[in-house]
Symmetry: C2
Subunit: 418 residues, 2 copies
């Protein structure tokens, strides 16, 4: 079966927002085993919207449309798609009640603002369609089915669209598909993307069922292993040997086999299990490393304190890096990185610390280190490991690479400290 | 004139990457005064690519295609577009030389890797077309013009596409357009998006030339003022009264009228001009605030040191927040925020400091503060201002809002301290 994704919104055509909805829905379709041959974007214009929907329905089994379900007269998606599919619009009682409740909560005692006819437009649904009630906004989603074609309408804001897709559309589509699809994500850090690609080249070439799809992220590679079968159990049995083979090949470079687990969460979990507390000492990353750690709920059980020592004075005063080291080796040096990590442990009283210092550019540094040179040190219960890196790209790219590799480096040191 | 944007790449249809190219090109077209009615994405498939190009050329004056210019047999964009436009492919001497030079630099002495016929495919160009030489990759871009239609082919990687567009395509299109377009960006912080929208509602309703287009970012609103005219001077004269009116309405809430200046850069610049150094003391933001400051080249002249004090112990030991304050008011309190900012100045010896403490969720806090409650304090030469905020959304959204509003808050305090 194939699907097409149509995003509606003039703000996308003006470049005001990036179309992340299409990327999310495409990945979900891939996960379901649906082929996507087209993505399209049109504005809030009846003629062009109608043309785009008609064209998509003629070439695809399933059409997923996001956006244009709002209360304004510009929002035409529901009206246009219903007319093309031959569905009349009728008021849905539950949708109206939910709308009134939400607007009451929103407007409160603001008595001069009242629900208008435009607001009530959002409670109209195609007669006989499946209504997807919206827990995060006022526009319900819609599934219309007719003559072998399925047209799914979803609200544009990702905060409404994604939960609705996850909770209501994904199960609907999985049920509808002739085969069951099961996928597992194998997340790798500490090896480059091209090395991973080379290491699984034979598996990719020979793949049939399950398939392996690599997704590269800065400092990480994710491999999605997807099987099709008649039951979940059959899929899991199909996946097992591939998972085993990937585990054999990548071993401890695999930090998670669960989609929801991030590298920072995996590292914090390792620290927690070992009973270690952590501090950070950052120069070029400026707090971006600690920020990623703190993005994990519950990080405070492990992560105690971060030092952003951007100036030499701060390196000396907050972390006790010796002026002699800064003088002789400079702030971008293995020696400075080591003293930063040791100083972070000493100042904060944590068991472990990781430090970053380097040149992110754009100005060329004064000594002979090129832009992109980074030193990191990891201290675990007094044992310090220092590593030199050379990253490419602009200032932000170098800083981003440093953060990802710092997490990966910390993970390796934790594995070795066992 | 109207333009269409076609992105080619199976990786987009699989959701492996987000189509940021289309957003960039759409914004650039808006800037040029070109109307974009469609964006489309197709995979590396000759039939579907050919159909999409033919359809786009029939309805648009200008078609901009990104992707599919690589050396592999999957890359079909140049071959397909040239055939449709009726151009024969011939080798371009300079493109071949640049290709050989780049591959030599890349392969080095790696003698068993040689340029293949596939590599040389990248030096073929449509006969009579304008060749856009690529300073950042191996695939040249192409401009083909025939019978009033213009077809522009650009490489897919943004690091190659964006410089090529900026340096070669933008000037070409501006030249081609019957009118000159000049735009200025007015960047505002400290007022919400809906308030800004309400404040300029009359200007938007009455707008003709120049136009005003609002672009919302977290904690900021950008207004792009664009004029069309016969000369740059005429455009600048058309823009001036609108810029004057916006300045009258938003005054010091405007932090930049230069597209390239970020809020963090504007704040650092204000500090530098006042001869003030800065430190940060972060709890819930975990270093994301200092990270944004450090993203500005030259930040080290002003920003000395950041403390990420996530635990109560760290707040006490690194910043000297009194145990009594933590006990009586809790870590999320105006009192704690004040002592964090004062402590950051004292510990780091800076003239100014800003602190953040709050509940980002997802777990509900133990006392009666709801998730999203944030206190910030700004200390400037001993004078401390404290403010309470209530942000909405998930953990990341609350942290992101806090960082943006912290910069805006710091800016307001600096303006008042004058």
């Amino acid at each position: 079966m194939n699907a097409e994704i149509l995003s509606v919104g003039t703000e996308i055509l003006l470049g005001n927002i990036v179309n992340t909805n299409a990327a999310y829905l495409s990945e979900q379709c891939a996960l379901l085993g649906l082929s996507v041959y087209h993505q399209e974007v049109v504005g809030d214009n009846a003629g062009r919207l109608s043309e785009a929907i008609a064209r998509a329905l003629s070439s695809s089994d399933i059409l997923i449309i996001t956006g244009g379900l709002g209360p304004t007269t510009d929002d035409l998606t529901k009206e246009t798609a219903s007319a093309l599919m031959g569905f009349a619009l009728v008021e849905d009682k539950k949708a109206r009640e939910m709308l009134e409740e939400r607007m009451r909560a929103y407007l409160g005692n603001d008595s001069h603002r009242r629900l208008t006819a435009n607001n009530y437009k959002q409670a109209l649904v195609p007669e006989g369609a499946t209504v997807l009630y919206n827990q995060n906004g006022t526009a319900p989603g819609i599934i219309m089915e007719k003559e072998g074609k399925t047209c799914i309408l979803l609200p544009g804001p990702p905060g409404e669209m994604i939960p609705m897709f996850k909770d209501q559309v994904f199960p609907f589509l999985r049920e509808k598909l002739p085969e069951v699809i099961v996928s597992r994500m194998v997340k790798i850090s500490g090896i480059g993307e091209s090395q991973v690609a080379a290491d699984i080249d034979d598996l990719i070439s020979a793949q049939q069922n399950p398939t392996i799809a690599p997704y590269a992220k800065t400092g990480e590679v994710h491999l999605r292993v997807t099987a099709k079968g008649r039951s979940e159990e059959e899929c899991r049995e199909l996946i097992a040997p591939t998972l085993g083979e990937l585990t054999r090949r990548f071993g401890s470079f695999i930090f998670a086999t669960d989609e929801a687990v991030t590298l920072e969460a995996a590292v914090l979990d390792m620290l927690k299990k070992r009973g270690l507390t952590l501090s950070t000492a950052e120069s070029l990353t400026g707090g971006a490393l600690s920020s990623r750690l703190v993005s994990v709920p519950g990080a405070s059980q492990v992560f105690a304190c971060g030092y952003v020592t951007y100036s030499n004075e701060a390196k000396a005063s907050a972390l006790g890096v010796s002026p002699d080291t800064l003088e002789r080796f400079g702030a971008v040096s293995a020696e400075c990185a080591r003293e930063m990590a040791e100083g972070a442990c000493a100042s904060s009283g944590t068991d472990a610390a990781i430090s970053t210092t380097g040149f992110a550019g754009p100005a060329a540094p004064s000594d002979n280190h090129p832009v992109g040179t980074v030193y990191m040190a990891c201290a675990i219960r007094g044992k310090v490991t220092v590593r030199e890196y050379h990253f490419k790209g602009n200032r932000n790219r170098i800083r981003e690479s440093t953060v990802s590799h710092a997490l990966s480096f910390l993970r390796e040191c934790l594995l070795e400290s066992n």
